[in-house]
Symmetry: C4
Subunit: 369 residues, 4 copies
Amino acid sequence: MSSSLVCVQDYEEQATKILPRNALDYYRSGATREITLQENKDAIKRWYIRPRFLRDVSKRSMQTTVLGHTVNVPFGVAPTAMQRMATPDGESANARAAGKIGTVFTLSTIATTSIEEIASEAPDTLRFFQLYIYKDRAVTASLVKRAEAAGFSALVLTVDAPHFGIRLADLRNKFTLPPHLGMANFQTGDEKSNRVNTSAGGSGINEYVKSLFDPSLTWDDVAWLKRLTHLPIVLKGILTAEDALLGLKAGATGIWVSNHGARQVDGVPPSIEALSEIIKAVDGRCEVYVDGGFSEGTDIFKALALGARMVFLGRPLLWGLACGGEEGALNILNILKGELDSTMALSGCASINDITKDMVIRKDHYSRL
Amino acid sequence: MSSSLVCVQDYEEQATKILPRNALDYYRSGATREITLQENKDAIKRWYIRPRFLRDVSKRSMQTTVLGHTVNVPFGVAPTAMQRMATPDGESANARAAGKIGTVFTLSTIATTSIEEIASEAPDTLRFFQLYIYKDRAVTASLVKRAEAAGFSALVLTVDAPHFGIRLADLRNKFTLPPHLGMANFQTGDEKSNRVNTSAGGSGINEYVKSLFDPSLTWDDVAWLKRLTHLPIVLKGILTAEDALLGLKAGATGIWVSNHGARQVDGVPPSIEALSEIIKAVDGRCEVYVDGGFSEGTDIFKALALGARMVFLGRPLLWGLACGGEEGALNILNILKGELDSTMALSGCASINDITKDMVIRKDHYSRL
Amino acid sequence: MSSSLVCVQDYEEQATKILPRNALDYYRSGATREITLQENKDAIKRWYIRPRFLRDVSKRSMQTTVLGHTVNVPFGVAPTAMQRMATPDGESANARAAGKIGTVFTLSTIATTSIEEIASEAPDTLRFFQLYIYKDRAVTASLVKRAEAAGFSALVLTVDAPHFGIRLADLRNKFTLPPHLGMANFQTGDEKSNRVNTSAGGSGINEYVKSLFDPSLTWDDVAWLKRLTHLPIVLKGILTAEDALLGLKAGATGIWVSNHGARQVDGVPPSIEALSEIIKAVDGRCEVYVDGGFSEGTDIFKALALGARMVFLGRPLLWGLACGGEEGALNILNILKGELDSTMALSGCASINDITKDMVIRKDHYSRL
Amino acid sequence: MSSSLVCVQDYEEQATKILPRNALDYYRSGATREITLQENKDAIKRWYIRPRFLRDVSKRSMQTTVLGHTVNVPFGVAPTAMQRMATPDGESANARAAGKIGTVFTLSTIATTSIEEIASEAPDTLRFFQLYIYKDRAVTASLVKRAEAAGFSALVLTVDAPHFGIRLADLRNKFTLPPHLGMANFQTGDEKSNRVNTSAGGSGINEYVKSLFDPSLTWDDVAWLKRLTHLPIVLKGILTAEDALLGLKAGATGIWVSNHGARQVDGVPPSIEALSEIIKAVDGRCEVYVDGGFSEGTDIFKALALGARMVFLGRPLLWGLACGGEEGALNILNILKGELDSTMALSGCASINDITKDMVIRKDHYSRL
Ligand SMILES: Cc1cc2nc3c(=O)[nH]c(=O)nc-3n(C[C@H](O)[C@H](O)[C@H](O)COP(=O)(O)O)c2cc1C
Ligand SMILES: Cc1cc2nc3c(=O)[nH]c(=O)nc-3n(C[C@H](O)[C@H](O)[C@H](O)COP(=O)(O)O)c2cc1C
Ligand SMILES: Cc1cc2nc3c(=O)[nH]c(=O)nc-3n(C[C@H](O)[C@H](O)[C@H](O)COP(=O)(O)O)c2cc1C
Ligand SMILES: Cc1cc2nc3c(=O)[nH]c(=O)nc-3n(C[C@H](O)[C@H](O)[C@H](O)COP(=O)(O)O)c2cc1C
């Protein structure tokens, strides 16, 4: 397998051929017309890398820290729901791959593998838990406590999903989880939180979210969460300077710039555009991460140059899992590592700190010379 | 039907398959090269939505008012001619659908259903009458009086059609109304205003318009109309700040920014571009509406954020009518309602008032950061 | 024929089907990669028309004057070489069509119909003579004298062709005139000026030009020409403000902005872009014309709004001639007339004077609002 | 052959048909997604030529000097590795063609023809030697000495290749040199420098470079090189003003702006964009050359206008060699010469000095008028 698949796009093409339609569409889709899905990628390409030469790049390191934890590469695994549709051991395979390369794995609230399973399957992997807040706050509080108990290192509170976005393919497919899979974090007790059923009217997952997630969330709930846990809180889904500042005020330890892989509202800013705005507003007062449309080493390099501390990847790992389970996921991470290493070598950067703001420039810049 | 058609574009594709060529072309066409037809849509996509999070969006309302009348959604039905080519009960079906969702229906002067029929078929629907001024001012005055008598709530004076634009497909098809249909507002008395005949030289509808509409209209005629009626007057087709200001001076109650669905002159500004210019000029002194190329919830959201009070839809309703008569039209309105609701939920807007100017930004903005 | 061909593009497509490859390629081609050929058109589309309404457009006139001569429409026929490849009576048919619609016809030096034939075939048509200056100045002087004698009203000195541009199709075809045709203005005496022969190495017409035209021309030669003739001199092919000002200084009566239909150097400014620059520089001190890529009424309207006095058309007439001889050429002119009339009616312009600068705006303008 | 291939693109298309896949891919590829490969070309097209007329262009010369040596044309041959895959006498054919037209040929370190062979096969050609610095400095020093001894006129130190970029096709093909070819500059003694072997993991050439080239190079090594040789040193691969200034300081005699034909990092500036920035920084203090995506006369003209002293061509010569050996290479050079000559004639430039900065303008310029 791995020998003929040499880049993330190869994996995507291969996954497109082998995944069942239902799962493929769920993984691949963006909201409505999917313009942002494409723009996430295009916007990254509108930045140029300004390589510097005749610097000693014989010894290179991609090591950095995230929330104080050392990672071998400045990119990690974003939370994506229901990874067992891609490969039997879904989230576990993904988490083990992240561990092998030495970076962070983020587990989704609506995973098909539970908090505890991940902890036991990937004990040495740095793990974050992505939190959706349920109307039933007891459910939420229990998730937080379980993540703490299982040795997760941070809570990633996703703020952009009071509801789920409209994804046309899921509507057409009346998307639902295959019968043998469930929301693993709710396997005991809360039956309705566990199942994603076919419904008369459309996407099963959207109905699940509509009935259980809490759309009345406000900044006060961040305060509630902070009181509930000693874990650092990262806010995921921020797209404006305004919200980033509110996040800082609310005590967030990290801001994760994201448009949820273009799955919520079509027509929001591409994440790399939002990144610049937010980096400027935050001005170093907390760590800033980004995801959305990153699929090669140069993409990651650009985000780092713009000031992101980590880049996260969603779909690329799903393609890796679909093509080869844990080995596939690890291949993806290794491809990206190799590409980023090459970009650094060929741009005069021996360490992450060398990837400074002046190493990128907007394409439009030249039309103003 | 409705279950597999999940967005306006699905309806458009389906309508394209089932409408007779003659009618399809008449409905679909824009002027000459149809560049503006495409740009109306593209220009909307050049705006980004800046979503805000952690605001309570558990209870949302799309209610607003138009000329003092409460409507459930901030979008309504634009006047389009001759809807009975799409479905047997044409305009009536459309008007009933608008009523069911709780918004305004605008009847065209050159409809295939008369003022009085609409009033009796859709008595509870908020109705506007779109007026073309005929050379024969007695004809015009009678239309106005009949609209008043039939309980219409406003006159929409279309200013952009002294003639009709050049639509190549209609020229090729020598477009004319099917024999069983007529201009329903002229069924008694004025035979020549009723018929659209095949002619030797080209589009029958263009010849109709050329022989009957008054191309000598000036701002004085707005004054004449104001004296004639107690109904509020909305000027439809304004594309420049200059004309919007003249409209205000002439006592218009509303300005309806429109390029007539790109059907008059190819190469005029996309309507959303004209909207910004006009909102700025009008500066809150009257209500401003817009139409042209809107086909999903995010599109409507953007126009509202830019300052439009209502967005109107032309072709989308024709596709709905063609695919399923009244039910099809209602599906269209419900799809848009659902999409707008989703956009509001995912952008932190619980009510129309929350959709403020800072929630949108031009794509180009980022290249200036 | 004419009934199914309703726009210039229809004629172009039809001509593409029926013209012999050799002639079609010669007519259609632009220089090398033909990027400017496309950009001439695209650049026009980057301008928007800002239509004004409620102005009396019941009586409209397109009349204007060119060099003091009244014409019925603000557009005319550009010089194109060797029109008899398109239809047996080539330039004569074209000149008669121009006369019928009431506008100017420009005869090329390298026409397949002579100065005298045109004068006798189209005596009532306003005629300009396009001049190429031959190394043999006696040849040139004789052309000028014959044009004067034959009642031509102006000399159009083409400045952009010391050589001919590289047109790949002509190189591949080893383009040459069909044997029964010759350079009609040289039928007596100067045999080598008459023939375009196949050559070993490439395009016959390019070799013709290389051996006969004078590439040593300077502004002094304009002075020489002015002394030689009482006719007004129009400089055709100007693309920069600098050259326009030199032209004014040299006593030109008109500046004809043109990139020779994108046939000389690929990568020069689209003519409508050069027009703005030149209008500004000339500042009303002489008449300014433009050609290049104009193919519908709105195109012409835009150039007039930008300040051009006349728009000229090259290829569109060739397509007309190919499809229907004189009638075809006349159809082209009538289509453009109808389209321009429609554009004026729908933009609030009753006369050419109403087409002012504020009626157009660059597309980019909106991104700066 | 030559008669039907009339431009560089024709040669490229023909070469694509006849080269073995392995070689074609190696020659053609750019790094990863190959966006820069396309942008190198597109960016050149974003500049317009502003032609001037009525200047005497009857006698034209393209002569200029490079590092004090007179050349007949302002463009030369860039170093490309392993030309014997294209035609049996590879680099020799290329060097002879360059000599025939009167310009410079640059020999790659990793050529399939040795320094000494080139000197004896093309004794009259102006020759530069492109240097890669090997970890084994004795190897490097010996190359320099051999180039000096063989009468090469300059050292072109390629600074952008501490490693080779990631080229997906080579990874897929596990690219390696055909068995009968070797790195000719290393045929004696250093066996491992001579062979490019298939490897388990990917591109053979990349492994060759990784194991032998020195990625610890710094500006100090330029100083070392200067002490080693009396030849002028040109730095090839500079893409930023910062590095250009460091190059000046280090005593470079020329700066060769290049992104290595888009083969190192995808997403760096197109070379013509970098050129402007660097010309400005260098401000005449040394000669500046450029390569990357140049494939017609107008392209070269634009770079000269922007301030480049020479333009270099890589792939075009490979296509020429593939289609017709030395004759093919010469045809390429003659096509470009003819096209540049035509561009000069049609832009009012009789000599290279006439090609001034004001003769080009960015496309975007017009949107600011
Ligand atoms: C199939 C799928 C499921 C996702 N599920 C979640 C989720 O459960 N929680 C969450 O916060 N984000 C979720 N996301 C968003 C990702 O965390 C991430 O923001 C996005 O995938 C990044 O874009 P990329 O896929 O282009 O890398 C999901 C994304 C995808 C594609
Ligand atoms: C088939 C058709 C017929 C129309 N007839 C009228 C009409 O009779 N009166 C009028 O004022 N506008 C008419 N319009 C313009 C519409 O009111 C509206 O401005 C336009 O359709 C909005 O663009 P959209 O179709 O992209 O939504 C018509 C438009 C179409 C497509
Ligand atoms: C086939 C052809 C022949 C031409 N011959 C001449 C000519 O003899 N003299 C001249 O000044 N311009 C000549 N031109 C240029 C035209 O006068 C005019 O500038 C150009 O065609 C305008 O562009 P358009 O074809 O897009 O309308 C020729 C153009 C074409 C297409
Ligand atoms: C097949 C190939 C091999 C190359 N080998 C070398 C090389 O050995 N040394 C070097 O400095 N540049 C090398 N280059 C880069 C060229 O010198 C030059 O920068 C590039 O080809 C210019 O772009 P162009 O191919 O678009 O003209 C190579 C380029 C290609 C395409």
